[in-house]
Each structure stands twice: as C-alpha cells, then as structure tokens.
C-alpha cells in the first residue's frame, strides 16, 4: 500500500495489576495491510496489551495513535467504531443463543435479527466461512465457533483484526484454512495482529513481529528471516532445556491398562458421549491422545479416573483387575494417579492452601489421616517434598493455590501425583498455558516416569508435545478413539486428518443426534472452509 502512516501505534503503554506490571512501557507499530505477530510466553503480557487496544482495559500510562491521531479507547465500542475487531482466545460466545443473535450482539447499530442473518450469510459466503444463522452455538464445533467470532468482526468491516491464539483449538487443516482467510484480508488492505506462541505458524504467516517478555518489548523482527529456535530464544530469553531423551519404546512391558469397547453417555447434555472406545497401554509406555477440544476428552478423563463410573466393571481393567465400577480413590489405591486439565477448580481448590490441596488427591492413598483425623504436619512435609522435587516457586511455605503462577501450580499438581511413583498416570493437557521452562520440566518428568516402568497416558491438544513424548498416538473425535499408531510412523498431516474426523467411517446411527460438536455435516463444511 502507498500509505505509509502506521495504522496503529502504541506508545509506552503501561498497565499494572496490583504490584504486577503486566505491560511496562510497551511500544507497538502496525502498518496497514500487514500481518503482525505478537509473540511471547504465557504471562508475557500479550493479552493485557491487546485488551488495551480493544478498549477492554484502561492503560495506566502511555497513548494509542490511530492513523497518526491520538485516540481514547474507553470501551470496545469505541475500538470497533475506529475499525478494530477482536477474536478472543476463549471465545466470547453465548452458548444458548443462535449464531445470528451472537453476531447481532457484537454489532453496534441495532439491526433486526432477520437483516443480521441475511448479512451474515453474505459475509460468510464471501470469505468462505459458512455458518447457519439459526443454529444454537452449543451445537457447533470449535472451528465453527471461531468462524462466528471472525465473521462478526468482518461484518464491521474492520481495518485491524486482532486474533488471540486462534489456532490452539484448530486441526492443522483448519489452521491452513484460517491462514487463507487472513491472507485474503491482508490483500484487501486490512491489518492483522496475530498473537501466538507457535513459532512455525508465525514464520509462515507474518511479515513483522513484536516480542514481549515479562511485560516489556524485547525484540522486533521480520519472522520470515528467523528460525524457530532464534524466535524461541527471544521469547524465553535463554536456552530452554531440551527434553533429553525419549526412552526405548521397544522395551515396553505387559499391558497395564485396557479399555474395552467403552460406551458412556456424557453427563453434560451438551457434552460428547464416548462410543466404543478401546485402548491398551503397556507398562513403560507413553500413549498420546490427540484431538480438537470438545471431542470427548473430558468424558474420557472422567471415565479413566473414575470420577464417572463405567457402565460395566470389565470396561476398564488395570493389571488384569476389572476396575470400571471403582471410584477414583479405589483406583488411586491401585497405584493410579490423575492430573485433570483445569488446574484451578478441578486439580486444585483455588482458595485452599497447598497442603490442603495435597489432601485433595492424597487422602486415600498418602497416609495423611490417622483415625479419621487430618495430619497437617505430614501434608506440609509432602508439600515441601513436591516443592523441592519439581522446583515449585512460591513465597510462603504453604500459600493458597490461586497465588501460584500457572506454571508453578501445574508443576505442583503434576508433582503431587508423580511423587507417589504411580504405576499408571493419566494426565490431561499437561503443559497447557504454562511457560516453556515448566513445560519442559513436566515433559521430562513424564518420560522419566515411563522409563521407570510406569504407564503414562497423555491427553493433549498440542501436537508438538505429543510428537515429542508419546510412543504411540491415538486421536479422539466425536467420542470415538482411533487405533493408536507408533509415533514414528505418523505424520502431523495424518493426525490432523483424524482430528478432523477423516477415517472414522460414518457416525453410528442414533448416537446423540445434534449434541456432538463437529458431527458429520459440520465436517463437510469444514472442508469447504479450507478450499
């Protein structure tokens, strides 16, 4: 474009939360028709920065220029009026409402829903992002939900589109489709601010990058001229400890955990039922389960942990014993351990001290009780042991769980289970949203545990992680699980196709009509989206 006035300039933006300086004098410059990457680790301040650019947070200092003019973004409406649109990482959608209502809510002029639906059809057709205006959001797949977010931004005809970690919930193929859309937008002269920590994507898509670390801009570069490793160094500020070893997969032992044709309706009416899930997990093996969020991962974790009992005892066997009807604590006493996806609220009670959180998972098998009475000193010793072994950084000896950073709390909840030396560990999203150092430590610990003969099952959306640590990978889609294949024989493309539902055959007739995200019809549209 001929116009060389930057579209948006942020000058010395600063924002504090209590004592924490989330953004410390951050400068950013975005040109029209540019896809600009905002890179940084979790907690580096990316979300804070874009929330200020979208009028959701008020800066404590600094200013924002739009086409060279200083502007005040008092609220998102003001941002939208200038032409700034935003696609949120955790979608800002209303599940019980229709697509058209969701779009209507993001428009600033009152417009009859019928007209909204009409324009919605037009825009979604023009950009190859098909949507049905009358469908309720909870019936849609994750990819379709993201489409709503993008389409409703596009209906405002934005000059700058902000996307916060948009690909973390997409299959590789869906990601490619999104990139096509973003390139179309760039070619129309619109700018895109693309927030990610996936370095390969950024190198592929973006022509400029601003890198944040601990709330400060540490680097600006053209990511096309960088390697993933050099970008990672800028983000982290030092070399990340590489995961040292993959253990010898050939040396795996006898089958420890077997799931045999498990059928389980979801307790959540909007959830995904498990349909004919079978798997085998050997001693000393790491099995990875890939899949797009909402395809039955939560239900699978609940079934494996015993939070929800299987219909038949023989659906699950551990070392030959049927355990399907045993609750989570009886399974723990059989030396199984579990780490759920949600750190705060599921793995740990936010407002309880770490010692009490040790009791959450350990009251059945850790000897924290004597005659029904809680032994506080033993729990505290356990916390100290976990802290030491997993390098949990915290101020006081026994803080509340919510006072720990994401990475440190994750190290604590993983370490809490590992310290027991379980023979079976089921872990969901082990490094979701944690910093690179903690992620690498956790992955190494998982591998070490398997090398010592334990069986490890990792449910993860992060394909890089699974390719790094899993011996075999299976894919969960719409409540069904593919056969696990050795990781060496799999490609990302093959896993991606499975994640999109290719190769699962037709859905079982009569299986939870409509309730399944990404059911067959949605899938057909997904492919159109790629084209």
């Amino acid at each position: 474009m001929a116009d060389r006035t930057p579209l948006l300039v942020a000058e010395a933006l600063t924002r504090r939360f209590g004592a924490l300086v989330a953004n410390d004098s951050v400068d950013l410059r975005i040109m029209p028709g540019e896809i600009h990457a905002l890179l940084g680790e979790n907690g580096a301040g990316k979300s804070t920065l874009v929330k200020m650019l979208y009028g959701l947070l008020v800066p404590d200092g600094g200013r924002i220029l739009w086409r060279g003019e200083p502007v005040t973004l008092a609220n998102p409406r003001a941002a939208r009026a200038l032409g700034i649109g935003m696609v949120f990482q955790h979608f800002s959608l209303f599940d019980a409402m229709t697509v058209a209502e969701n779009v209507g809510l993001a428009l600033d002029e009152a417009e009859p829903l019928r007209d909204v639906a009409e324009r919605l059809r037009e825009v979604s057709r023009a950009y190859g992002l098909p949507l049905e205006p009358g469908r309720e959001v909870w019936r849609l797949s994750v990819g379709e939900r993201q489409r709503i977010e993008i389409v409703r931004c596009l209906m405002q005809d934005p000059h700058l589109l902000i996307l916060d970690e948009p690909t973390s919930v997409l299959t590789p193929q869906e990601t490619e489709g999104l990139f096509e859309t973003l390139r179309t937008l760039r070619d129309e002269g619109r700018a895109v601010l693309y927030i990610s920590h996936k370095l390969d994507e950024v190198r592929q898509l973006c022509e400029a990058a601003t890198i944040l670390r601990q709330g400060k801009v540490v680097e600006r570069c053209d990511p096309r001229g960088q390697t993933a490793a050099s970008l990672a160094r800028m983000m982290v500020g030092s070399q990340i400890a590489e995961v040292r070893l993959s253990h010898a997969a050939e040396a795996t032992g006898p089958v420890r955990l077997r799931v045999d044709n498990l059928n389980m309706p979801s307790e959540d009416p909007q959830g995904t039922s498990l349909k004919g899930v079978s798997l085998e997990l050997a001693a000393g093996e790491v099995l990875g389960i890939a899949g797009v969020a909402g395809n039955g991962q939560d239900e699978l974790f609940a079934a494996l942990s015993g939070e929800v009992l299987a219909p038949r005892a023989a659906d699950l066997t551990l070392d030959g014993t049927p355990i399907g009807r045993e609750g989570i604590n009886r399974r723990r006493r059989r030396s199984a351990a579990f780490v759920p996806e949600e750190r705060l609220g599921h793995a740990a009670a936010p407002r309880m001290a770490l010692s009490e959180n040790a009791l959450v998972a350990g009251h059945a098998a850790n000897g924290f009780l004597r005659g029904g009475f809680i032994q506080r000193d033993r729990m505290l010793n356990w916390v100290d042991a976990v802290t030491h072994a997993f390098d949990v950084r915290k101020g006081p000896r026994d803080p509340e769980a919510r006072d720990l950073s994401g990475g440190n709390l994750q190290k604590f909840v993983v370490g809490r289970e590992m310290l027991r030396k379980p023979r079976l560990l089921v872990v969901s999203q082990p490094t979701w949203g944690v910093d690179a150092g903690a992620a690498s430590l956790i992955r190494q610990a998982l591998l070490d545990l398997a090398r010592d003969g334990a069986s490890v099952l990792v449910i993860s959306q992060d394909l890089d992680e699974l390719f790094q640590i899993a011996d075999r990978i299976a894919v969960i889609f719409n409540g069904r699980l593919s056969d696990a294949q050795p990781t060496r024989e799999m490609t990302r493309e093959a896993v991606g196709l499975l994640m999109g539902g290719e190769g699962f055959g037709p859905a079982t007739p009569g299986a939870t009509p409509g309730a399944a995200p990404g059911a067959a019809p949605g899938q057909a549209r997904d492919k159109e989206g790629v084209a």
Partner: protein, 308 residues
C-alpha cells in the same frame, strides 16, 4: 353474574400479585442475578403503599410509594451483590428479613385502619358480554397492567436489542463484558425493575385485595413468585400460566374452606405451599425426561467483577 364468572374473577385477583412479582423476578434472573428478597420487597411495598395512601388519601401516591419502596430495597441488594459482589443468596435472605421487619415497623401505626380499595374499571358494552365480559373488561388497573407487563417483557426480551443484551449478561457475563457491555449497569437496571414489580405486587395486596394492613400479609407470596419463575422456565407467558394456576389453587382452597369441606382448614391452607413443591418436582422430573438439561440462564447467581 354466574358462579364461573365469579370464580374466574377471584382467580385473576389472587393471581395478579404473583404474576407481577414473578415477571419482575424473571427479568432479574434473565440478567443473571438471583434475588431471593422478593418477599421482603413485596411486603415493604404493601406496607408503604397502605401507609402513604392513608396519610395522603391518594391511592395513586400509595402505589407510587410502594414501587419506590420496592426499588429502594432492590437498590440495597444491588449495592451488595453488584458493587460489592457479595453472595446473592445471603443478600437476598437478608433483604427478606429486613423487609419483613421494616414493614412491621412502618405498618404498625396503621394496623386495623380500613380504607376503600382501588376499584375496578368497567369498559362500557364490552363488560356486558356474558361470562368473559366481566372477566376481561371489568377489572382493576393492576390486572391490565400485569397483562401488559407480560406482553411488554416478552417483547422486550425477544424482540429488542436491549433485551438481547440483557439475556446475554445472564448467559455469559464474561463474554458480554468482552463485547463492551456494562454488565453491572444492565444488571442494576434489571434488579431495580424487579424491585419496582415486587413493590407494585405488594401495593396490590394492601390497596386492592385486602384494603388494609396486617403484619406479614404477603404470607409467602414472594417465595411462590420465585417458584413460578422456575416453573415457567424463565418464559413470561408461562409465568402467566403458572401464576393463574397458583391463583386458582388459592381460590379453590378458600372456597373449599368456606364450603365447609370436612378437611381441617390448616390442611387446605397448606395446599398452595405443598403444591408449589409438587409443581417444582414435576417440572424438574419432566425436564430430566427430555434431557434438555438446565433451561436457567447459564450465569444465574454468579457474581461478576470486571477487571478494568
């Protein structure tokens, strides 16, 4: 006037305060706030209404005072639950206890003072139609207002952008905030509207239904209004149906008592409460059968604090 007409008329009078209070609470809950203080706001409405009407001699001022009292109590609730993000259950209970107590203090000087109730409006000619004429066209203003409220609220919630926004705040306050809506302000308006409705319902009790003040005269009607909202699956027209069903029950029970049915009067008096429990149980059992899950606004009862 036939017996059927007479019964229908009394059913409508018994149902109207329930309906007005329930519609108000329905809007509050659609915005994501659970105000358990309906009983307290309602009885304060009844007490202030009758007090002002007696002092000033004006029923209109009485009604306005009742609405004002409901709004004032709702404002206290809003301050606690919205501005200070306090527990909504506890705040609502506090509001009920406070309202019941204060109504006793406010109403004390007026115990036993009789006055003429607000009369009915007769629409000429139309009211002469047999059976439905008196039912539809010879009612007091409150009855017409309650029907208008149902239609208005239904239109507002499903046909206007503001209604859409209000429901969005009840579904997912975090997302509504992310889109730039002022969740707390919208919830404040909803809570105040609910207070106004509860106050109005109270005025109906003390200015129309029984035109004098007795301590504790709401007798749990505020709680039944809350139950009607659940029973109605948060839909205005179903709330109307629910209110008329309960109104019918109350009348049935009164008629049975006066007709000298050989059942102790206390058992008949307990019927509305027992049937509230039965109705709630049946509706929940029916919902479970369909697997539709919860139809309540997803964000109901969750405090929301924006970080800005």
């Amino acid at each position: 006037m036939t017996l059927a007409t007479a019964i229908l008329l009394t059913v409508i009078t018994a149902a109207t305060p329930l309906l007005i209070a329930a519609i108000g609470e329905l809007v509050v809950e659609r915005s994501g706030v659970l105000n358990l203080g309906v009983e307290g706001m309602m009885i304060m409405g009844a007490a202030s209404g009758v007090a002002v009407a007696i002092i000033t001699g004006s029923s209109t001022l009485g009604v306005l005072a009742a609405i004002g009292a409901g709004v004032a109590l709702a404002a206290i609730f809003a301050l606690l639950t919205l501005a200070l993000a306090a527990n909504q259950y506890a705040s609502g209970l506090a509001l009920t206890i406070f309202g019941v107590g204060l109504s006793g203090v406010v109403g004390a000087p007026f115990v036993g003072v009789q006055r003429e109730g607000i009369g009915r409006i007769t629409i000429p000619f139309l009211s002469d139609i047999p059976v439905i004429g008196p039912v539809l066209f010879r009612q007091d203003l409150f009855v017409y207002a309650s029907v208008a409220l149902v239609i208005g609220v239904s239109w507002f919630l499903w046909r206007t952008k503001s209604g859409l926004i209000l429901r969005a705040c009840g579904e997912n306050p975090v997302s509504a905030h992310a889109l730039g809506y002022r969740v707390l302000r919208i919830r404040l308006y909803a809570v105040l509207f609910g207070g106004a409705c509860a106050g109005l319902a109270g005025a109906y009790l003390s200015l129309v239904l029984t035109p004098f003040w007795t301590s504790g005269m709401t007798a749990g009607r505020g709680w039944i209004a809350l139950a009607i909202v659940v029973f109605a699956s948060w839909l205005p027209f179903r709330a109307m149906l629910g209110a008329y069903l309960f109104g019918g029950l109350i009348i049935l029970q009164l008629h049975a008592q006066t007709a000298g049915v050989a059942i102790p009067s206390q058992f008949l008096a307990a019927l509305p409460y027992l049937l509230t429990i039965v109705a709630l149980t049946l509706i929940m059992a029916a919902r479970r059968g369909t697997g539709a899950g919860s139809v309540a606004p997803a964000g109901l009862g969750q405090p929301f604090t924006p970080d800005r």
